[in-house]
């Protein structure tokens, strides 16, 4: 193997999710020849069209998108998240674990081979890391700033609303208007302004969620504004919710951009001046060469490819946010009718736990979530459980809670068969922190007229958050199994890790925007360097 092998492309990007597309723009803009590959195959089911309540009442293909012709929802009856049961997302999650040779123990391993990756089914939560949170990254916070701006403007972020979470999210300068919130959460926000100082003193802050959803149509693309149709869980037919497939569409037709779906990368190897990726495509196995390769296959898949490239078979740590879910009941709203509502985060909150630990969570309307999702947790006979929920849910709000990823205890290892073994777990203090969080949430929400339902506060299994990061962290002085400030993998040349795997730290807040901004930043640097060399 020598460096004189002809290369097919300047850069190959493995993965077409949020990280992959964010990295593609600066490279294509610089006039480089870029190939993007993903393991996607098969057509996706279309999400329902129209107002959720109408669609449900008039039975417009309900069975197809709620259960699926092949009983998808039933076959996933034990899956940890409602999203994993949604037939319209079946192709998003399908085959990832086995195709990427992942074996997980006490850990829910989720990823995507599909075009657009996990962004097809994400919660659209966006946030910018504060300078303090970026302190462990080997870069100046200002370097991330321009990338945050570029990405936020491109994908469209809503929620710009001067409130107590403005600094936490740090996105208001690029945001457009907020999505209207429902009556329940509106009443909570009203009450919050009344008892604000007491709540803030106890470490609880409430504000609008910042979400990657459009409230005005995007002129450059044909994405429409959110109309509160409420089908968010099943996929946004108007494409108001951001998905990396929107960017993929934008990239199509750009000079120098090439896209090859259905090519599953099995190995990445640096060979002198070029990097070869070998894998299996729809037309058989093949090898592709480029001057540089950017790994954006999702934290788990990228980690396996990277560890394989440097033949690193020792344990590597990964971060994943311990998570919990809960339900609130607002008795004053009992008997209310279902109203059309936005299905993703409407309000968000932060909660200070002990010294230096900040938890984060969002609140959701229950209309667009199947009652069966709640019925499985209610300790009543199913007949009476449905009776109860049908009357109760209209006055309920559900919420989630994330703790910083540093509180997880997840190890990865590449075994001799090149499988990625994952052992999941939480740090010992998580149990206490979750108890404290439950206690504090109960006391805070009661001031907002909402009761934390007994036994509804449930801590998820490790990995349920699907916020995996920092397995190959960027470091100022990287060692084997880490990456440098531009995500370049130590121990080899020309391979950059641009997805969650190369983040140096995982806070409780939503991390997707940071992954995208980091990918954009790294790709900008790679593009500049390559163009300089060429000239």
């Amino acid at each position: 193997m020598t460096g004189t092998q002809p290369v097919d492309f300047d850069v190959i990007i493995v993965g077409s999710g949020p990280a992959g597309v964010s990295a593609a723009f600066p490279l294509v803009d610089a006039g480089l020849r870029v190939l993007m590959v993903d393991g996607g195959h098969g057509a996706r089911l279309v999400p329902p069209t129209g107002q959720y309540l109408n669609v449900r009442n008039q039975d417009i293909g309900n069975y197809d998108w709620m259960i699926g012709q092949n009983f998808h929802a039933l076959s996933q009856a034990d899956a940890v998240s409602p999203k994993l049961r949604v037939p319209t997302h079946a192709a998003v999650f399908e085959g990832f674990v086995s195709a990427n040779r992942i074996v997980a123990d006490n850990f829910v391993a989720v990823g995507s081979l599909a075009p657009g990756g996990l962004s097809n089914a994400w919660g659209c939560g966006v946030a910018r890391m504060t300078d303090k949170e970026l302190a462990s990254f080997p870069l100046k916070p200002s370097e991330m700033y321009t990338s945050y701006a570029a990405v936020a403007k491109r994908i469209g972020v809503s929620g710009g609303y001067c409130d107590d979470l403005s600094d936490f999210f740090g996105l208001d300068e690029w945001s457009h208007g907020t999505v209207p919130i429902d009556n329940l959460q509106n009443s909570m926000l009203m009450r919050y302004t009344r008892s604000r100082s007491a709540l803030m003193q106890s470490g609880f802050q409430l504000g609008r969620a910042r979400v990657a959803v459009l409230t005005t149509p995007q002129t450059q693309t044909d994405r429409q504004a959110c109309n509160l149709c409420g089908t968010c869980l099943w996929g946004c037919e108007r494409r108001a919710l951001y998905s990396a497939t929107d960017d993929l569409q934008r990239l199509h037709g750009r000079q120098g951009f090439f896209y090859r779906p259905g090519f599953l990368v099995e190995q990445v190897e640096s060979q002198g001046n070029s990097v070869a990726i070998s894998g299996v495509g729809t037309d058989g196995a093949g090898v592709l060469r480029a001057r540089r390769v950017l790994l954006a296959a999702g934290t788990l898949a990228s980690t396996r490819l990277a560890l394989q490239a440097i033949n690193h078979r020792k344990l590597v740590a990964m971060q994943s946010c311990p998570t919990a879910a809960f339900m609130l009941w607002l008795p004053r709203h009992l008997g209310r009718r279902h109203e059309p509502a936005f299905g993703l985060g409407q309000l968000s909150f932060t909660l200070d736990l002990g010294a230096d630990i900040q938890a984060f969570g969002s609140l959701f309307n229950t209309t667009g979530i199947p009652v069966s999702e709640f019925a499985r947790h209610v300790p009543l006979g199913k007949r009476y459980g449905v009776d109860l929920l049908a009357s109760l849910l209209t006055s309920c709000v559900v919420g989630n809670l994330f703790l910083p990823g540093s509180l997880s205890n997840v190890s990865l290892q590449l075994d001799e068969d090149d499988q990625l073994l994952i052992w999941g777990g939480y740090s010992a203090e998580v149990e206490m922190l979750m108890k404290e969080a439950r206690h504090k949430l109960r006391n805070s929400f009661i001031k907002l007229g909402a009761l934390l339902m007994p036994i509804s506060f449930k801590v998820g299994r490790p990995g349920t958050d699907i916020h995996y990061a920092a397995s190959l962290p960027m470091s100022a002085k990287p060692v084997l199994g880490q990456t440098d400030q531009f995500g370049e993998l130590m121990g080899t040349a020309g391979i950059h890790v641009v997805d969650g795997a190369s983040l140096s730290y995982l806070p409780a807040k939503s991390h997707t925007l940071t992954i995208m901004a980091n990918a954009e930043r790294i790709a900008t640097h790679v593009a500049t360097n390559m163009v300089l060399i060429d000239n």
């Binding site: 309540l53 449900r56 009442n57 039975d59 309900n62 069975y63 709620m66 259960i67 092949n70 009983f71 929802a73 039933l74 076959s75 009856a77 086995s98 009992l334 008997g335 209310r336 009718r337 279902h338 199947p370 009652v371 069966s372 019925a375 499985r376 300790p379 009543l380 006979g381 199913k382 007949r383 009476y384 459980g385 449905v386 009776d387 109860l388 929920l389 049908a390 009357s391 109760l392 209209t394 006055s395 068969d417």
Partner: protein, 422 residues
């Protein structure tokens, strides 16, 4: 897991592939005839033609089910050699090896069949593999020895009742495949016996076949075992083997297997003969009935026909154990299902399966027009009073359900236990 299965087209093999696929495993079928099924790869394999074979490197386990059941002499060595080659092939890809043996396996078994099984068992254990000894396999399609017995019961005008009656320890083919898959995860011991802990007489077993599979009421004639032995001696070993007499006699030499411990290790509860024996063709009608009951329980009203059909199809596609044996009273009054729903007293396996099915009924019901109006509470007028009344009613019903369940505990605890309803 990726599992290679020999004897994939056989009686147990076919059921095993179905169950393995449902459990999410990938299957490589090793057989003479190709297996065409979604998610199943095929590789040629012949027991009688013992040549070294190469398995794909990603195989995690090899389940050796293929067996020579014809009474041909000279095949003994080939079968043993084929097994050894398989053991080697499994070892070379570091896959677990499981050998499907027989209750007859013994160093000095009266049949060659039993002696070969014993030799292969030794080789398996030596290589660190697992041996499964099933009892009398029955149920499902009429293949294998079970198929032969069904044909006999159907066609013979009178049936022999051997005196003294040999005991058989039955095991349903679908319970056996569950055990096969479970032993890969649990590895309780090197020899695992899978059959009913208590044997029943062969006569009772044949009677069960007659009841479950035919409309006949068979007539039994006592046949002294001593007579058979004398006949076999007179005919000589060659002729009695040809006539199948040797195989018949091997029934009387069966050692009783202590299976309780192994079943416990595998967390396996065997279904009783009465529910395992009836032909599965009757299952659809029973599934429809079961679906109607479960959906009525969830919806509080008679479910639409299309919805019930969907339920039946879902269970057929996704579950191994077909119709659930619900008490007659519950079939008549679906509201009584509330007494079983989530109850901790009833048999664990039965409860898990019932939970899955009620949950499936909830999900299917919700996706229907009837469900939309019930689950989204379309009649809601927006009144707080109505909401309060409905919630209080639901809680009161739940309380009374729990109270009645407490009172009926002695009766309910019998459901699913002792195999009465499972």
């Amino acid at each position: 897991m990726r599992i290679a299965i020999t004897g994939a087209t056989g009686y147990i093999g076919q059921r095993l592939i179905h169950a393995a696929r449902l459990a999410g495993h990938e299957v490589l079928a090793l057989s003479r005839r190709p297996v065409i099924e979604a998610g199943v790869a095929w590789q040629f394999f012949e027991l009688a033609n013992a040549t070294p074979l190469a398995l794909p490197s990603d195989i995690d386990a090899v389940l050796h089910l293929a067996a020579e059941t014809r009474n041909a002499a000279g095949l003994d060595l080939t079968e043993q050699k084929a097994a050894q080659l398989l053991i080697d092939a499994a070892a070379s890809v570091r896959a677990a090896f499981v050998f499907m043996s027989s209750q007859t396996a013994c160093a000095d078994a009266p049949t060659a069949y039993g002696r070969i099984k014993w030799k292969i068992e030794r080789a398996t254990i030596e290589a660190g593999g697992l041996v499964i000894r099933p009892g009398q396999v029955y149920g499902g399609p009429e293949h294998g020895l079970f198929g032969v017995l069904c044909t006999v019961v159907r066609n013979l005008p009178v049936l022999p009742a051997f005196v003294p009656a040999p005991a058989v320890q039955p095991v349903h083919v679908d319970d056996l495949v569950v055990a096969l898959l479970a032993c890969l995860a649990r590895e309780p011991s090197s020899i695992i016996s899978v059959a009913a802990p208590e044997g029943i007489s062969l006569t009772a077993f044949l009677r069960a076949i007659a009841r479950g599979r035919t409309s006949r009421c068979p007539v039994f004639i006592p046949v002294p075992v001593l007579l058979l032995r004398v006949t076999a001696r007179l005919l000589g070993s060659g002729l009695s083997r040809k006539l199948g007499l040797e195989r018949l006699l091997s029934l009387f030499a069966l050692q009783h297997m202590n299976t309780a411990g192994d079943l416990q290790h595998l967390a396996l509860m065997l279904r009783p003969l009465s529910s395992g024996m009836p032909r599965s063709g009757r299952g659809r009608r029973e599934l429809i009935r079961e679906g109607r009951v479960l959906l009525t329980y969830v919806l509080r009203t008679k479910p639409a026909g299309a919805l019930v059909q969907r339920y039946a199809r879902a269970v057929e596609t996704l579950r191994i154990n077909q119709p659930l044996q619900l008490p007659e009273l519950v079939l008549k009054a679906p509201a009584l299902l509330a007494l079983l729903d989530g109850s901790r007293n009833i048999d664990t396996n039965f409860r898990c399966e019932l939970d899955w099915r009620i949950n499936a009924a909830v999900m299917l019901a919700e996706a229907s027009p009837q469900g939309a109006s019930r689950f989204l509470d379309i009649d809601n007028t927006g009144s707080c009073f109505r909401g309060t009344v409905l919630i209080v009613r639901a809680c009161m019903m739940e309380l009374s359900r729990r109270f009645i369940r407490f009172l009926l505990w002695p009766v309910l605890s019998r459901v699913g236990r002792k195999g009465v309803y499972w």
